[in-house]
């Protein structure tokens, strides 16, 4: 049986996760519960290579919970599904909308009664660039 000694470094202020106290031979049962710190990236980003960020300008989507200045987590890898918030590229600009198809026509739907839906004209430069997976707001 041997005991390894560790010298503390009082000069450093780095907080480390608690490890069970040094016991002579028996491992502390608490060591089994030692976990890494929580990292929001793990939660908010499913596809790191396909994830990009964007900032919102304007309030046309406020009823969908998106307001001016919010930070968007955008995933290009996930498929569009009805009612998803889509980052669309239309005529030289990124725009945040929901999509609706009616007959032959595609509409970009705002979520604010003060704004009107937009019909995508045939031949416009339109693409769904990515899908919003999280909205991050500063509230304080």
């Amino acid at each position: 049986m041997s005991i390894r000694l560790f010298y503390p470094d009082p000069g450093s202020g780095l907080a480390l996760p608690a490890v069970g106290h040094i016991s002579a031979g028996f491992p502390s049962p608490a060591d089994d519960y030692l976990e890494a710190v929580l990292d929001l990236n793990d939660l908010l980003i499913k596809n790191p290579s396909a994830t990009f960020y964007g900032t919102v300008k304007g309030n046309s989507m406020q009823d969908a919970g998106v307001e001016d200045g919010d930070l968007l987590v955008i995933d290009k890898a996930v498929p569009y599904r009805p009612n998803a918030l889509a980052i669309c590229y239309l005529d030289g600009e990124f725009t945040l909308k929901r999509l609706r198809k009616e007959g032959e026509h595609l509409y970009l739907m705002p979520a604010n009664p003060r704004y009107q839906p937009i019909r995508v004209r045939e031949g416009s430069d339109f693409a769904v660039w990515g899908i919003v997976t999280y909205i991050i707001k500063k509230v304080y």
Binding site: S12, N47, P48, S49, A50, F52, Y53, G54, T55, V56, K57, G58, N59, S60, M61, V66, D68, L72, K76, A77, I87, Y89, L90, D91, G92, E93, F94, T95, L96, K97, E102, Y107, L108, P110, Y115, Q116, P117, I118, R119, V120, R121, S124, D125, A127, W129
Partner: protein, 436 residues
């Protein structure tokens, strides 16, 4: 089987990821200091714009044809390259990153339909990152290069070419210019042409002894690979660099010591960062400085100084100290300087460093400071914290007049998503009935 995945017109494609409006339009990217054309979209190639052409010479032409021109944004290209490589890594356990925009995938052990597999790789990279790629699949790396070339050049292949049957390989090699074969340089091409060898197929008919005698064992390996015998090992990780160089031309010629010192300190800091990233230290450093050789009427001066570092290091603080001291020794007043640079050499792994007997530096502390510096700069952007001698940047900086935002690496540069009335103003605003 091997796949070679190559990003099409990579730098231009990177710019287009965040500017979809540039699809279908001629786009070019310029080299450092906005010098020459280093990446062209297909439309730009069709306009007859040549690789390496100095931008200033064709400025009027670019304007007339409404070519979108960008300064090179290596921060953006580096990040997107990393994303592409990580995505490719999902398709094979063995990925060899061959350059910023090319990688070999070892597909050994997979039993799939190659064409379908290549298509799914292509679609995935396209969708997840927005970068178009061409893919060549074949039994050896040299043949995969051939297939990749065909995938790119032959519109009928639509970006994917699989050479898996002997018949297909033979047919392709009979049409393939020997000079385009990977590893056969211009010199050997001349020699081969002189010997009546024009296609890759002709080359394959040569006698082994002749190839070995005239083109060394490397030529023989290329021949074997063309014959379908894999003999180039996968290099899984690029070997650690033997020397790291950071040098730039100044945005405008510099005469004073102060701005050049800032530049050299910054280059030294870059070298230190690169060293730390590959967990190694440098034992030697060279600093160089020179005037513009092409301005023959101006007095010319060029000098470099190599210094041996007392203990191999990767500390920004230490490298800057030696680099700026070396610069002071080689700097002479009265010249117009064009370029300076820092090269670190004698690179060895961090853990193999031996201390010097009279070393008075607290290396553990230095290492800790550097770790914090890297962590902060990784989080808040390059040069958030830097050593004072790097200065606040100024005159010596690169000319990058048409730099695109760093969409993926700087919070202030992320895309802006419109949610206002002005958005989509060109499109019809139509009232539609609310569904009941």
């Amino acid at each position: 089987m091997f796949a070679l995945v190559d990003c099409n017109n990579f730098y231009v494609s990177c710019e287009r990821v965040f500017r979809p409006d540039l699809n279908g339009r001629p786009v070019v990217v310029l080299s450092n200091n906005d010098g020459c054309i280093i990446s062209r979209s297909e439309e730009a190639k069709q306009l007859g714009i040549k690789m390496g052409e100095p931008a200033f010479k064709i400025a009027a032409f670019l304007d007339r044809h409404q070519v979108a021109v960008f300064s090179s944004n290596y921060v953006l290209y580096g990040d997107l390259s990393h994303r592409v490589m990580r995505t490719l890594g999902q398709f094979t356990p063995e990925l060899e990153v061959y350059s910023i925009d090319e990688a070999f995938l070892n597909l050994a052990g997979l039993s799939v339909d190659w064409v379908e597999y290549a298509w799914s790789i292509r679609q995935t990279v396209r969708r997840h990152i927005g970068i178009p790629v061409s893919i060549g699949v074949a039994p050896t790396k040299v043949l995969a290069k051939v297939a990749n070339y065909l995938a790119k050049k032959d519109p009928a292949q639509a970006g994917v070419c699989v050479l898996d049957q002997p018949g297909k390989i033979t047919a392709a090699l009979k049409e393939f210019d020997v000079g385009e074969v990977w590893g056969i340089g211009r010199q050997y091409t001349k020699l081969l042409h002189a010997s009546g060898v024009y296609t890759a197929w002709d080359f394959l008919q040569l006698d082994d002894a002749w190839v070995r005698k005239n083109m060394t064992v490397v030529g023989l390996r290329i021949k074997k690979e063309l014959a379908g015998i894999a003999c180039l090992e996968m290099e899984l990780l690029p070997p650690p660099k033997k020397a790291i160089c950071t040098s730039r031309s100044f945005g405008e010629d510099q005469t004073e010591l102060a701005p050049i010192t800032e530049a050299v300190a910054t280059y030294a800091a870059r070298c230190a960062e690169k060293l730390r990233r590959q967990r190694s230290c440098a034992g030697m450093m060279m600093v160089f400085l020179h005037t513009n050789r092409f301005k023959q009427h101006e007095p010319q001066y060029a000098r470099n100084l190599v210094c041996k570092l007392p203990v191999p290091t990767n500390s920004t603080i230490e490298l800057i100290r030696y680099a700026t001291a070396a610069l002071r020794m080689i700097y002479r007043k009265g010249y117009r300087y064009k370029k300076a640079g820092v090269i670190v050499m004698a690179i060895e792994p961090e853990e193999r460093i031996q201390g010097a007997l009279f070393d008075r530096m607290d290396r553990a502390k230095h290492a800790a400071v550097m770790r914090s510096l890297d962590a902060i700069n990784a989080k808040y952007g390059r040069d958030t914290i830097k050593v004072a001698s790097q200065g606040l940047g100024g005159k010596w900086r690169l000319r990058q007049e048409r730099l695109s935002p760093c969409y993926t690496t700087r919070w202030s540069d992320i895309i802006k998503v419109a949610a206002h009335a002005g958005a989509c103003a060109h499109n019809e605003m139509i009232k539609i009935k609310k569904p009941q």
